[in-house]
Symmetry: C2
Subunit: 112 residues, 2 copies
């Protein structure tokens, strides 16, 4: 079980901002997971991997692909109080789900 969070590397987030957006996406996708998936993922140490996305369009496409496979997702739009324009899409979390299911969608993305 794992969760992969795709964060946009093209919008110039600072480190702390990036971390907050990733955490937001992570929790949102987690809340959409089944109770069994939540439990199994936590028992396995809640493995998370952060990878780089390069556009808003890419994140939307990845989310559609994940939803088509029945995987939980969480897409974050920043409120824009700091650093970014309001409504900027910043991060997409996929999972927790089986490693293979998540990898089919995200395996080509570079580590952040």
């Amino acid at each position: 079980m794992k969760q992969v969070i795709v964060a946009r590397a093209d919008v110039g987030m600072g480190e702390g901002k990036l971390a907050a957006q990733v955490a937001h996406a992570s929790l949102t996708a987690y809340e959409h997971a089944t109770e069994q998936a939540k439990r199994e993922w936590k028992q396995g140490g809640q493995k998370k991997v952060v990878v780089k996305g390069s556009s808003e369009r890419e994140l939307h496409e990845l989310q559609e692909a994940a939803k088509a496979q029945g995987l939980p997702t969480g897409l974050v739009r920043d409120a824009g109080h700091t650093q970014l324009e309001p409504g900027t899409v910043t991060a997409l979390a996929i999972g927790p789900a089986g490693d293979d299911a998540v990898d089919r969608i995200t395996a080509d993305l570079p580590l952040y």
Copy 2:
């Protein structure tokens, strides 16, 4: 309502690693919150702020202070598969809780 995540700036985590540790701490503290606190925080946009800690000892002391106030916390030790020594304490999340209650403990820490 907010959650503050104190991440160690003294252990040399890369950006993606930092984000994953912050997300881990965030979810752990969230799971320790009351249902009412979870709901109120999410309705308010699940505000998160990432700040810098400078030692393992500091994170432990902040956790004790938060617990003494009845606030939910989540402390992360890295499994050490990458970048860090196994067992390294990396991040502490405090909240979700009222802004004032969290600020009493974390207001002096610099933004990450």
